[in-house]
């Protein structure tokens, strides 16, 4: 039985693409999960978003060789997915955020009460973050990732680096005002 050379080439190409995809998964799945979780704040939703990201990559795997920076490219994909999901999702009650944070945040040597208080504090800060305008909020959330430079944040958001800096400055100012205002109300 004769095997056509085209079929062998196809199989080899497919094998190479699958290996490249597997390498991307093992290298960047964790980063993508953290990006997704920082927006969605729900472990299962974040994992779904990561899976959807790689399924999109699978669909366009022929063009993987043309991508210069896979990390920023993948973060951009997962960022768009999570923003879309967040837009469509119904507003969850605030207690969900507090409970979720109390569960996932690290508690090194904290008592149960301290842990609950810390979770409440972080939930309050996150509520203030949610009150920021979208553009400023996006930059502030992405700036929390130490592995992302301002150039890479600009690339993910599709804006210039100077816009990233000015938005980050505005975001910090607004956050200070929001937290100050909430403290004065207490």
């Amino acid at each position: 039985m004769e095997i056509a050379p085209g079929a062998v080439q196809d199989e080899t190409r497919q094998h190479v693409e699958e290996e490249a995809l597997a390498a991307l998964v093992s290298q960047y799945a964790s980063t993508l999960y953290r990006v997704a979780f920082s927006v969605l704040r729900n472990p299962s939703d974040a994992e779904d978003a990561v899976q959807e990201t790689f399924l999109r990559v699978l669909r366009h795997r022929n063009g993987l060789g043309e991508i210069r920076d896979h990390r920023v490219w993948l973060i951009r994909i997962v960022w768009n997915i999570v923003l879309d999901r967040k837009r469509r999702a119904k507003t969850r009650p605030e207690t969900d955020d507090v409970d979720e944070l109390a569960r996932v945040l690290p508690a090194h040597g904290l008592t149960a009460e301290q842990r609950a208080a810390a979770a409440q504090h972080h939930a309050h800060v996150l509520r203030c973050v949610d009150e920021l305008p979208v553009k400023e909020r996006e930059v502030l959330v992405l700036s929390a990732f130490e592995e992302l430079t301002s150039v890479e944040i600009a690339s993910v958001l599709g804006i210039t680096e100077s816009s990233v800096r000015s938005r980050l400055f505005r975001a910090r100012n607004l956050m200070a005002e929001l937290l100050e205002h909430s403290r004065s109300l207490r």
Binding site: A29, Y33, R59, S143, E146, R172, A176, L179
Partner: protein
Amino acid sequence: MNQQPYNNAAFRTGAGEAEETLRLIAGLAAPEGLEDRVQASLTRAPRTARVMPWPLDRHWMHGTLARGAAAAAIVCFVAGGGWEVYSRVQPTQAPKVIAMPRVATPGGFASANAMRTPKTVNGPTLTHPIGAKIPVHTLGKKPAGKKAAGSPAAGGNSEATKPVAQ
């Protein structure tokens, strides 16, 4: 000179708190086995769409030709069916005169409760001169003019019963 907001303690505290919280969340570890689950979902995912092999390709006809003929037959069948349905359904004739609906608008033009009096019947008559007060007890009774005209013995006021020229 005004002090810049990022120089004061409130700014440092507020922005610092927010960034600390966001950094804490950004630094959370991914769940165990995430890569394996993603790999598994990628393995299960369907690959690109493929054209199904044509079963009669080898025997009697060239594959492309057969596919084209089959596609043409499907198109003819669908179009023929659609035409048959279209030709059976006769559109109803549109009325030539369009009757405008009568809309009773409150506050619009109305008859103001006017009653049409046929010409064959005598018009209304005045039983009292204009400006004279009508006694209350006579209201609701028959006009005296008719009685006077019918029986002279009644002796009514002839001026009052005289029909008014119209």
